[in-house]
Amino acid sequence: MNATTATIPFETRSAATGAVPLESSADWSPSKGVVGMTCLIIAESAIFTIFVVAYLYYLGKDLSGPTPRQVLDLPILNSICLLSSSATITFALRSLRNGNTKKFNFWWLVTIALGAYFLLGTGREWHHLIHDKGLTIQTNLFGTTFYSLVGLHASHVIIGLLALSIVMAFAITGAVKREHAERVHVLGLYWHFVDVVWVVVFTVVYIIGR
């Protein structure tokens, strides 16, 4: 009944740590971090899709209250800042790959600043909508779907900024080096995702919806 424990031809490898895969079926297999982050992005995309569907479904169905056209202004500067932060984070990563930690620190900080400006801008917009235009999440269907969709995105920006800030803290103490580029790259993927979502949200809310 018991199989003979004969020798299976082995490939002896010592365990590796960090971003190098432990063992692989071929000489190359995808990076764990990239695959894991891609999975997270897929799941998050599904969540955002549902909120976008709700937004589109309820367009024009309000029984009362302000309409998008009446109260929404295009957040142009905000969007420019957020989208260019995708470029700056790429510069940062490139610098790190070249080993230039000083440049990395600079571009990383710029990225954080741009993201923070976006958040501030969103906050100002909401303050204006609530206090000057009388639009809250309770007002009508537009209020419901607007604040939840934009808010969901903003919460992801906040999480992203938190992660970026932690890396910044490490970087300032000199702990971030060239060999960490892969991990930083994975975090960068999340940040790019947040930016792509903004493109979708912007299009749906401020262009199609208005």
Partner: protein
Amino acid sequence: MNGTLTTGDISGATALGSIAATEKTVFDHIHSWLVTVDHKRLGLMYIIYALVFFVVAGIEASLIRIQLAAPNNHFLSPQVFNQLFTMHGTTMVFLVGMPMIFGFANYLVPLMIGARDLAFPRLNAFGFWLSVFGGLLLYFSFIGGEGMTGAGSAPDVGWFAYAPLTGKAFSKGHSTDYWILGIMIGGFGSIATAANIITTILCMRCRGMTLAKMPLLAWLNLIMCGMVLIAVSPLTAAQIMLLLDRFAGSHFFDTQAGGSATLWMHFFWIFGHPEVYVLIIPAFAFASEIIPVFSRKAIFGYPVMVGATLAIAFVSLSVWAHHMFTIGMSSTSNTFFAVSTMMVGIPTGIKIFNWLGTMWGGKLRFDTPMLFSTAFLFQFLIAGLTGIMLAAAPFNWQLNDSYFVIAHFHFVLVGALIFMIFAAVYYWFPKATGRLLSERFGKWHFWLFLIGFHMTFVTMHIPGILGMPRRIYTYEAGRGWGIWNLICTIGVAFQVIGTLIFVINILLSLRKGRPAGNDPWDAWTLEWSTSSPPPEYNFAEIPAVKSRRPLWDIKHPSDPDWKYE
């Protein structure tokens, strides 16, 4: 490598019930389990957690069946009954089904692909403890829920929690909030674990194991986890919306303010339908590993099995509104969903033929795992056929929300999934513990459970056809439903006894079971090359493989698989 190795144990690590090293106290032992990141331990903890809730949900079902055994019964109040059926369904799907499949995936995937652990061991532990917290939070509602009926009440809105019944207006108190939060937290755990398993399979296969050479269990779990990523998120999104409705005054599902009740239905079933495929695909995975071994033949049509499962995964994303045929969609929409639902039956059905083809011409050994697997084949066939009946939308207009549907999905979830979980436990218990489960108890378990299952769930189709709707705490005499309900209830007793024997079997065999050795079933995949139980690091040296059945190649050096693949 991952955490501390048990002292002195290289080849035969700690068996489940014994304390190996002398300097460890009981508290050290428990502590090591609480902080573990080892996929095998986490896998076992998931499975035990699921088994505990299986018993709890089974008790809930038994109470329901006692109440329904006769018309106008007064065993349970309507309030309690409504909580019980809600909790029974919610528990079975989220606290039994999901943890069970993730537990098995956790345990088996690294072993079967020649890896030492999952890709992200700490995330693995985090996902597990999130699930535990979610389940406990849900059950805390029995004490702290404060629903419509007063202090302490569990959710009573049905497991799919339709709006606007779940809105603040109709569900006062917090019972619905416990439903939302308990499941949402567990949902985050599921997404984390799914990402973990996908990464493991894509990045950590051993040398020689291309995607085309990995065991079907790995393939099917890969597909299942991909579906989890896409399908669980819509539920999370809908639940966030419901929370906003209940706490922030938004109007997503607030029909008094122009919100839509059908929107919740769409979102829920966009989750709900792929979810049931998520639950059943691991059953297919177990069948695809167990049936070949007990037929002494390779799986018939490996590439088609993979292709069919991929087809199921894609098509199942387009069938969700077959749960909504009665809501008043246009005839075009109804036709679309009827057709897509019938279509998804094709790749699902041909898998049965592939298993049949595996058995054909084999030498069938009917040890307990194979008994359960054979019953699975018959029962899954019936489940699929009643599914086709329900796909015919006009017939669905009669049978939707009736006991016919309950019979159908219990045939899938008990007759197919639970039976294969039993099979999987009997099959891999020796690997995890080093001891075989008793065959004698196993056969008693099987036959009693089989009789009870059929007595309950075959019969249950009849009241549905006679017009009995779901979720009613009692029914009128004179409609002809009483005798069938009584038979259904009696069947439960057999299933309860069968399950008890199963639990006793596990507890007894842990101490007194026959030692299993590495490979008690003469099987062919990598997990059977390690000791039983495997050492913490799984493999002393990571293997390299040349075919889908590496151990077959070793046992048959003159006739290895890679000559034919």
